[in-house]
Symmetry: C2
Subunit: 245 residues, 2 copies
Amino acid sequence: MIAPDNPNLALKNYLIAALHTDEFARLEPLLEPVSFKLGQVLFESGDKQEYAYFPTTLIVSLLYVMERGATAEIGVVGNDGIIGVALFLGGETTTSRAIIQSAGAAFRIKATDLQAEFARGRVFQKMLLRYAQALLTQISQTAVCNRLHTVEQQLCRWLLLSHDRLDSDKLVMTHDLISNMLGVRREGVTLAAKKLAEKKLIKNVRGSITLLDRQGLEAAVCECYGVVNTEYNRLLSRGISRTFR
Amino acid sequence: MIAPDNPNLALKNYLIAALHTDEFARLEPLLEPVSFKLGQVLFESGDKQEYAYFPTTLIVSLLYVMERGATAEIGVVGNDGIIGVALFLGGETTTSRAIIQSAGAAFRIKATDLQAEFARGRVFQKMLLRYAQALLTQISQTAVCNRLHTVEQQLCRWLLLSHDRLDSDKLVMTHDLISNMLGVRREGVTLAAKKLAEKKLIKNVRGSITLLDRQGLEAAVCECYGVVNTEYNRLLSRGISRTFR
DNA sequence: ATTCGTGCGTGTGTTAGCGCACATAAATAA
DNA sequence: TTATTTATGTGCGCTAACACACGCACGAAT
């Protein structure tokens, strides 16, 4: 059994795992294990980001919060990526909130340490930049999906994106929380979830959704999911989907 | 009068203008003046991008095209930016089409030349990375706006974003083309444009829309426009809006 | 065992935007 | 001038999603 603070756990994060040996050796002592609960906020819109996070088991939602309080998710990050692209893109802050969508663990690194290693170039820089493009693609597709697809399709997409970043088939998540992510009404999520449950694709129980038929979901989802998935695989040269890899 | 192929015209592009003297001296001979008409395609989704483009007077729309042919704009680029972020982010291609939204001129640079100068670091790299974040913010806000706002609000946003990148108050653009950008019906644009015209904010004539009251439009637009604008100013340290700078 | 908070199901009425179908009008070509 | 294309205005029925309002059920706490 690996100790819970063993830095080799960091290899569960694909960006870390892709590093060259010398890069990993240099970064390893700078990585600090952290864990978060559902709903915790890593940083708010406009916050100076002191740390970047490499998720291993947790999932983070990048959420935009309107002046009136309405919210909409613009992207989701798990062990496929990093929270804090603004740190190496140069902006230091973003207009979105980073909030824990699924409890779990990550490794954090000081902003200055991240920037120093990024400046060395090499694989680390390359992977971070490619990840930035992957995220850009995901956000673009979110924009398109918001415009053109139904709540049911978007729920499928959201469930699959989350599932890809989890070890479990059970997503601990209320309809209300999902509605905040999708930027729709809670009733809309309930209705869409009910339809998916009737098709035996998921099981709805109080406080969680369990995926029963991944293939069925992939058949029901809009093309947006596949486009993002394919692009992640292309850009990051590995699979995040159990079926697409 | 500056000759039309005078590379100093390139300084009309804010990214070029921000370079240090030695960087500009190195880039200048690599920049080639080009001009495009409305509707021309710089590259399709998935195309290997041979050139990056620094617009001076033209505007480019980044458009996603669905399998069924429906389209939605994910972002707009003018003399504030560069077409081809995938070249320095490392992906080489993107999932969107780059199409001329307003005819005009630009300077292009070979992909390999761009990458070589990017690799040198310094101001060029810094500006490109910051621009990537600005674009990311714009796309994020497009996603949010698509989810939460009305066609009329989005049309305001779109008109202002276009106007910011033009010298003229007249946008040569049919309702049909705008509808492709916004991902809505042509009739929806006609209706929204009519409402704005009734409020004396714009003038609708066949084939073009003229902005009559910019302040009025800024009062009518959703917060999305201001958020993007403020972030562009912050990240790129200069104004693109006539009112916000 | 009862109470209470939270999560979910459901109904009613409203509205924004869609698809379709034309009518009109302005530009362009013949 | 006349004909033809292209852009815009408008009407009608339809649907997805909205806002609001409950009722119910599960589960934890007393």
